[in-house]
């Protein structure tokens, strides 16, 4: 059952990711990204990270991507109109390079990565909000606070850059 769910949602995630690149219309691409994020949330859920799964949907799919879509709708952009290119040279170079990259990666994974334990679904139980919060506010308190300050600086910077006069 877990394996079927994993394969289904992994396939949806990959299909949405490919669709994201292939679509010419910005809204279609943005919604494909939402599809990727929600199916990733299901994968987190399968691995036992229920809190991360919920936060993934709330923050990424529910807040950030809504802003993306909002901006795209405001700008009212049309689909990209590309002329069909007759040039074969980029494809002729790119395809062998892609396959050689895949081959090199496969060779590295096969030889360098040690054989670890097989992942089993449902064995990890530290993903509930209680353990998550405890780890974040005790052991990882400093990285957490540093990241939040960094994000605050980024927000203030964005406002300063966007507004010429304050």
């Amino acid at each position: 059952m877990d394996a079927i769910l994993f394969l289904t949602f992994a396939a949806i995630a990959v299909a949405c990711a490919i669709n994201l690149v292939l679509q010419t219309h910005p809204i279609s691409s943005a919604l494909s990204l939402v599809g990727v994020m929600t199916s990733l949330a299901v994968l987190y859920l399968l691995l036992g990270g229920s809190f991360i799964a919920a936060v993934q949907v709330i923050v990424y799919a529910g807040a950030i991507m809504v802003l993306f879509i909002f901006v795209i709708m405001l700008l009212n952009t049309q689909g990209e109109r590309t002329q069909p290119k007759k040039n074969v040279l980029p494809i002729a170079i790119a395809l062998p390079l892609l396959f050689s990259l895949i081959g090199v990666l496969a060779a590295i994974v096969a030889t360098q990565v040690p054989a670890g334990e097989i992942v089993k679904f449902g064995t990890f139980s530290g993903g509930d909000p209680l353990t998550f919060g405890r780890a974040m506010f005790t052991r990882y308190l400093l990285p957490f606070e540093v990241t939040s300050v960094l994000i605050l600086i980024a927000i203030v910077g964005a406002v300063v850059l966007a507004k010429k006069e304050i």
Binding site: L31, V55, I58, G62, A63, V66, F70, M73
Partner: protein, 398 residues
Amino acid sequence: MNFYIISLVKAGITAGVLLTFCAYLVWIERKVLAHIQLRPGPYRVGPHGLLQPLSDLIKLMTKEGVIPANVHTFFYLFAPFLAVALALISIVVIPFGPEFSILGVTTGLGLTDLNIGILLVLAVSSLGVYAIALGGWASNSKYSLMGGLRSAAQMISYELPMALAIVSPLLLLNTLNFREMVVAQEGFALGFIPRWTVFAGPVPQVFSFIIFMIAVFAETNRVPFDLPEAETELVAGFHTEYSSLMFAAFFTAEYANIITVCSVATALFLGGWQPLWPAAYGSNFVPPLIIGLAGLMLLYHGSQALKSRRWDRFSFPAIGVIFLGLAGLFFVPVLQPVLIPFFWFASKLLVLIFVFIWVRGTLPRFRYDQLMKFAWTFLFPAALINLLITGLVVALTS
């Protein structure tokens, strides 16, 4: 295997009841609004217009579903589907009553018992904005687009105070699971004040409750925050171009969302299925008393029927006897532990839904800049201060 069968049966019952209730919510809303405005409301189809939802459904189903030219067909068709699907999902985490045993099977009155229940509600409600925004955008009409944009901005803005208002009672209840929340609100302070988060605890959560209710009015696009569908400015807002069943889907989604948020408020602030006062003082006799009195009134009015309405002589006593039978059900020992908690849950839910309709009949619509100003300069700081005070008190007392 047993688990799947029970889940399927419960899901079927819940979906049927929820969708029927959505349809009748339209009737209730029209009736209450009509009585606020001194009109009789729907009256022609069935007794007191009770079959009106059925005729509305037939009308919507048999209408031609027009797909206008120049719409983005895929998203145009996808948006109403998404709206109704997301609106129906959240109900799975709401517990309607305590656990009970029937035919040797012990199960909870409610679909699932999720550990991250309230996070699921927040996640689904934050996805709900896509349906409206997409529907507005894909229609390729300026009114629809304006409605969709307004809705997206409004829902993002009001999600913050809503989430902050939810956090304060969670600090007191110490769980994200709805069933555990309701169990934590069991019991009575001084023997008669219920320990609901809105009354009791170290800090009564009255302000959280008010902020939550204001925010969910905006989240469900209801008056006074119904700018996405402001008919005086935008024809019908984001669903201007929709017809037939696709329009019905948006309509159902709106009412299902109201039911969901009212259930969340009931479980989070009003003690879910816990009674208003202890069973020792006779709270168990309230439901049969109310329903039985209604039955007796019907019997009396049946005997006093007008000459011009001869059928009342038969229909009133018949319905009265049904009501008396329902009141009798509350005394059956097997059903009592299910029906009485469910009665309390349903009555709190209906009171909150009545408030929604009451506000619609009373308040005018906000202007758009007032709406944003209200969210960011009043509601958000108020929710933050409320959260800080609650957190401080919880930290000092625990």
